[in-house]
Structure formats: structure tokens, C-alpha cells
């Protein structure tokens, strides 16, 4: 049976991981390679690196980081941030990234999804969607939730699937940072409306939130950052808890 995936998300700036990370036995919390390796040891199923200051000039730094991670890591990883062209994606693929995640570039140019899927296969293309409730409607937002678009979240995701997105990373900006749990009702609606995997993101605070999102929705994976980075939820404990609820996880 296919396991539900647990995915720590790491923010990267100039090839270094940022945001406080609090592992006792970590020599250098800013070293993406060491951090990634630690997560793999803990039983993370996959990693997402989000390059938060990606610019054209700094692309080289990111590529070197991706190569360094791929040399050491024996689990899959996704890299996102600043990818606007097939050439950007190809450089990352050739450096060992398993998937790339695109967000605002796809909103501005939906054709990019199709171009990437044709060039590298749908399995390579993760569409990240940041959503926020506005007057009772879930609307796609850009720039970390600061910029609203005209796209309704569910419509955009359906369109992205038809264009060739292989997976959806859906972050609820209303839940993100609250530690009050995932947006289960929206995640379930989305997961049921499409035939590609969905990664839940935004709101994880306790192990029960992970249990809830897997029991109450059809999502395939759950992503979180701070609860893992600060050791609030050790991944082995989380896996044990999910197993108790008969949720299939990798041991």
C-alpha cells in the first residue's frame, strides 16, 4: 500500500538554510546538506527546499546547493523558488533535484506548466498554491499571501492538472503559522476533485493535526516546517502515532 508522506520544508537563502532550526546534534543549522541528511535519518519521506530569495544572479548558488544535497541524500527532494523557465528547471533536474515546484511563474504564465510537463514528465512538476479565504471564496495569492489574484483556488488547481501538473502543494495562508491544524475541508475538496497527489501545508501544530488531515481528507502527504525544525514533533514519534491510527507510513 502507498504510504502517506511526511515532508519537512526548508527555507533557503543564498544556499544556506534559514529560520531557526533547533536540532541538538546539528553542527551547522545553516548547512542544507547536514540538515537534509538529519531529516532523512529521522525518517522524513521527502524534503522540500524553498529558495526564498531566488534571483537570476544567484541561480548558480542554488544549483551548487542542489548538487551538494543530491550527493548526500538518499530520499527524494523538491526545489522551489524563482523557477520561471524550462531552462531553469532543466539545470535543477540535471543537478539531482527530483521535482521542481512552481508558484507565481505558473500563475503569470500557465503555459509553463505544460512546457515543463512535456519536457520532463508530469512527475517532475509540483504546483504550489497559496490560498486565502476572501469573502467566503478561496482565492489564489502570491508573494506569501500579500498579493491576491483573480483565480479561485479550486478552478486554478483543476486547470493546472489539465495542463500537466503532477502534484499540488496547497498551503492555506489562513492556517499557516497558526499551529491550529490543516484546512481539512478545503484539502479534502481539492484532493477529491483531482487525480494527482496533494500535499497538505499550513497549520501543523500537533501530531493530532497530521492524524486529522490523513483521516479526514484524501491528501497524500503533509508538509510542515517549524514543528519539525524546533523538534516539537520528532518524525519517528509522528510515524508511530500515525501507525496507531492505521495510517500507512514508511517505517
Amino acid at each position: 500500500m502507498l504510504s502517506k508522506r511526511i515532508i519537512p520544508c526548508l527555507d533557503v537563502k543564498d544556499g544556506r538554510t534559514v529560520k531557526g532550526v533547533n536540532f541538538v546534534d546539528l553542527k551547522d543549522a545553516g548547512d542544507p546538506v547536514e540538515l537534509a541528511w538529519q531529516y532523512a535519518q529521522q525518517g522524513a519521506d521527502e524534503l522540500v527546499f524553498l529558495d526564498i530569495t531566488a534571483t537570476h544572479e544567484r541561480r548558480g548558488t542554488t544549483i551548487e546547493m542542489v548538487k551538494a544535497v543530491a550527493r548526500q541524500l538518499n530520499i527524494p527532494f523538491t526545489i522551489g523558488g524563482g523557477i520561471t523557465s524550462v531552462a531553469d528547471a532543466e539545470a535543477l533536474l540535471n543537478s539531482g533535484a527530483d521535482k521542481i515546484s512552481i508558484n507565481s511563474a505558473a500563475v503569470r504564465n500557465p503555459q509553463l506548466i505544460e512546457d515543463l510537463a512535456k519536457a520532463f514528465g508530469v512527475q517532475f512538476v509540483v504546483l504550489a498554491v497559496d490560498t486565502k479565504l476572501v469573502n467566503g471564496r478561496n482565492m489564489v495569492h502570491l508573494n506569501g499571501g500579500r498579493l491576491i489574484t483573480e483565480l479561485e483556488t479550486e478552478d486554478w488547481i483543476l486547470k493546472a492538472e489539465s495542463l500537466g501538473a503532477g502534484e499540488i502543494l496547497l498551503t492555506s495562508m489562513d492556517h499557516d503559522g497558526t499551529k491550529n491544524g490543516f484546512d481539512c475541508s478545503l484539502l479534502d475538496k481539492v484532493a477529491r476533485s483531482i487525480n494527482i497527489p496533494v500535499i497538505a501545508s499550513g497549520g501543523a501544530g500537533t501530531m493530532a493535526h497530521f492524524t486529522d488531515v490523513f483521516l479526514q481528507t484524501g491528501v497524500d502527504a503533509a508538509l510542515a516546517a517549524s514543528v519539525f525544525h524546533f523538534g516539537e514533533i520528532p518524525i519517528p514519534d509522528l510515524k508511530e502515532e500515525l501507525k496507531k491510527h492505521n495510517i500507512p507510513v514508511r517505517s
Binding site: L2, V122, Q123
Partner: protein
């Protein structure tokens, strides 16, 4: 020493990185003559099976590969190339293992691609030495190799049972990505490199 068939179907960075971590020496195979330089051969592959087969045909390596008697391991699309035919692009493949590569059926309530960690049941072939039955490996694919008891050495289930690994004589194939499958995947690569001629 392992020779990796270099025919341009997908990126091999992760595979070579895994071999480096395991201290397994390797080199690239571009020509038929280079097949002789190595004791073991890996055929990698990501993407479209029909396109991959066309690229392999273009290298002129199909007949020399089929004539090999040393251990050969096809990974993902590289495994599918060992079969007779793929529904992807209605492509005739190398036909080393006379079974078919088919598209998953979404009417069975499954998402396509089959992406993530799935457990396998293996038949104690040396390729899986030291790997517990029920261990999860990392899969990413939309097409699968039909289960056939004669050639199956490991089975996975996704809507229906399919072959996660096959073997015919010296030819082995794995649908999952050992280079991305944690410690179990690394063990499998090590086991392959230790297979006797």
C-alpha cells in the same frame, strides 16, 4: 565495475551520487565496445518509454545489450525497456523479458502517477539480500510491468499487483528508484554490484 548506459534518457546525477556514496566504482557506456569494460551494466531511464527506446536504438546498443551475459539492471524506464512492449507510445521495446508495460487504470480509484513509498514482497532473490519483506521503496511512474510469476522477483500493489522487480537470466529490472529509496535502496545497489557473473 559498473557501466551506466549513457543514452540521454533522464538525469543520472542521483544514481552516480548513490554509487559514489557506496564506493561502487562506475563509468559510462556510450558504445558497444565500452560494454566490455565493465562487469555489471545499469540501464537508467526517466520519462517516456517510447522516446527512451528511440534514443537507445539511436546509440546502436540494443543488439549488444541483448547479447550480454553479465548482470544487467534496468531502473524505472530502464526496466520497462527490457520488456516486449509499452502502452506508452505503443512502443516495441527490447523484448528481453517477454511481458508488457501497461498504463495504470485510474478507474480503480488510484492517482496517477504512482508516486511515493510503497512496500514490496520479494522472492528472496540475491538482489534483495538483507532487505526485509514489506520494505518500502520509492516509486514514480504511470506505467507498470504486468505481474508474471515466471519473471517476477518482487511484487507491489497499486490498484492491482504489479512487478516491482523482474529477472530473466542475467537481466534484472526494478521499477522503483533504488538511488532514492533510503538504506534499502542502497543495499539493493550494493547487492547488484556483488552479483556473480
Amino acid at each position: 565495475m559498473i557501466g551506466i548506459v549513457n543514452y540521454g534518457a533522464g538525469n543520472i546525477f542521483s544514481l552516480t551520487a548513490a554509487l559514489e556514496r557506496l564506493d561502487i566504482p562506475f563509468g559510462m557506456v556510450n558504445t558497444a565496445a565500452e560494454l566490455d569494460l565493465y562487469t555489471h551494466i545499469i540501464i537508467p531511464g526517466v520519462g517516456h518509454a517510447g522516446t527512451a527506446m528511440n534514443k537507445l536504438l539511436h546509440t546502436g546498443l540494443v543488439a549488444p545489450i541483448k547479447a550480454l551475459t553479465k548482470p544487467v539492471l534496468g531502473i524505472c524506464v530502464g526496466m520497462q525497456l527490457l520488456t516486449q512492449h509499452s502502452e506508452e507510445g505503443d512502443a516495441d521495446l527490447m523484448n528481453i523479458v517477454p511481458i508488457k508495460t501497461r498504463l495504470f487504470n485510474k478507474d480503480q480509484g488510484i492517482k496517477i502517477p504512482h508516486m511515493g513509498w510503497n512496500n514490496i514482497e520479494h522472492q528472496n532473490n540475491s538482489l534483495f539480500e538483507g532487505v526485509e519483506n514489506g520494505t518500502q521503496f520509492y516509486f514514480v511512474h504511470s506505467y507498470f510491468i504486468e505481474y508474471n510469476a515466471t519473471f517476477d522477483i518482487a511484487t507491489a500493489n497499486y490498484g492491482m499487483p504489479f512487478s516491482a522487480a523482474v529477472k530473466k537470466d542475467n537481466f534484472y529490472g526494478v521499477q522503483f528508484h533504488p538511488e532514492k529509496s533510503g538504506i534499502a535502496g542502497e543495499r539493493l545497489l550494493k547487492n547488484f554490484s556483488n552479483l556473480k557473473q
